[in-house]
Amino acid sequence: MGYQLDFSKVLQGEYFDLILQGLQTTMVLFVISWVLGLILAIFLTVVRAIEFRPTQFLVAAFVEYHRNVPILIQLFVWYFGFAVVLPDVVNDYLNDIGAEIGYAIVALALNKAAYMSEDFRSGLRSIHPAQMEAARAIGLTYLGAMKWVILPQAWRLALPALLGQTLILFKGTSLAAGIGVAELSYQARYVEEQSFRIFEAYGVVTAIYMLISFAIMWASSVLSTRYRLRVK
């Protein structure tokens, strides 16, 4: 075979810089999509809880779309499809400032919001109705009961699933490479193409992913244990 492993080319100089830039882009995608997704998920859960068939149906449709269509395709729909809706001037501007990342954030955030709202919903549903009754019997208002009794339990119950979604989101940022966002996977391939160091390039990037993933997995385990809800 005659292939000599040489990590030095990849671990320093411009290739390493590219990898670091990729990492930075990945983290930007990850964090912003996560925050936006979470906020939207809370909003969706509240909307769905209101007993109004049309809005409930809309939220359900939103969730089902994002659960049944591959994330990559969701990215395509936004990047290719939505751009057509915008006027040319806007598109030119967006392309100049590297708008792919914006589309990627939107797609990832919406996708995560769908999954997270389902997790919240099942967290809420698994709370026994007697809890609300007991909270009202004490004299709490409906909002007070939600704030002090129901929601504190709901988020604790939804926590393991939410943390699972966090890991999935982190790995999902790699799909942005499919629409040209220069995140970590994209840079891995670029560096490999340019430097011909296949194993080193992919090896380093894989190691970076694993490190961060393990960190997320560890944090998830610690948090789920700390906030585990045991019902009598």
């Binding site: 075979m1 292939y3 089902e64 779309y65 659960r67 049944n68 269509v69 591959p70 994330i71 990559l72 395709i73 969701q74 395509f76 729909v77 290719f80 499809g81 939505f82 751009a83 057509v84 809706v85 393991p160 699933a161 943390l163 699972g164 890991l167 790995k171 999902g172 940022t173 790699s174 799909l175 490479a177 499919g178 996977s185 891995a188 391939r189 490999e192 296949i198 194993f199 992919y202 990037v205 894989t206 992913y209 694993m210 993933s213 393990f214 997995m217 998830s220």
Partner: protein
């Protein structure tokens, strides 16, 4: 939209066959089913290692699962597509590398599901088999696995849905499946991306939604008929 379907319908369904390679939706389905079938025995091995008594084996399987779960599927695909041919010295068709990557990835997840299924069986099953003097292999294969696998049928169908969605990543390495076919149509018909990708999304939606409804039905029917835990999703 209809005109796109009319013009490219055949391409989208079966690719360039018979003038070229099979592709499109047919390819997506073939890749998905083949991946699932190849994953199946591997996942069972992982599950047995995870729930067995052999400590080193258990840790090995555990390590495998944790490592695979820490890597994005796309990276695995890159490894299989770019690195593997170099390692074994012969070129590999993109389609096979996609399948290999999906198999490795899903072995970890499906393995976890089956392991959950095994652990969800009442303890009495194992004890009864041991009391009868059955050795490890008969116990496992004739008593535990059949029940565990039956209980995780919804989980298996669910993973098939996931695999179908994951096959779309093949479009990044030019595997001629449905998404890649659509990308080609889009480069032809530059002005209609919304319709094109709308059709693409709708196709996956119909496929996966139908499967997830089937999963739900299966879950209910199996819950009624069996003891032990019915598993639908990979436990975190």
């Amino acid at each position: 939209m209809l005109d796109i379907l009319q013009e490219y319908g055949v391409l989208l369904l079966i690719g360039e066959y018979p003038h070229g390679k099979l592709g499109g939706l047919a390819m997506t389905l073939i890749i998905s089913f083949v991946s699932l079938i190849v994953t199946f025995p591997c996942a069972i091995l992982i599950a047995l290692a995870r729930t067995g008594k052999n400590k080193p084996l258990k840790r090995l399987a555990s390590g495998f699962v944790h490592c695979v779960r820490a890597i994005p599927l796309l990276m695995l695909i890159f490894w299989a597509y770019f690195a593997l041919p170099v390692v074994i010295g012969i070129p590999i068709d993109a389609t096979y590398t996609l399948i290999i990557a999906i198999v490795i990835y899903q072995t970890a997840y499906l393995g976890e599901i089956i392991a959950s299924g095994i652990e969800g069986l009442p303890k009495g099953q194992m004890e009864a088999a041991e009391a009868l003097g059955l050795g490890y292999i008969p116990t496992t294969f004739r008593i535990l696995l059949p029940q565990a696998l039956f209980n995780v049928i919804p989980g298996i169908v669910n993973q098939l849905t996931t695999i179908i969605k994951e096959s779309s990543l093949g479009s990044i390495i030019a595997v001629p499946e449905l998404s890649y076919a659509m990308l080609q149509v889009n480069s032809n018909e530059v002005t209609k991306p919304l319709q094109i990708f709308g059709i693409l999304a709708a196709t996956y939606f119909v496929l996966c939604f139908a499967l997830s409804q089937a999963t739900g039905v299966l879950e209910r029917r199996i819950s009624n008929r069996r003891t032990g835990r019915v598993v639908v999703e990979a436990v975190a």
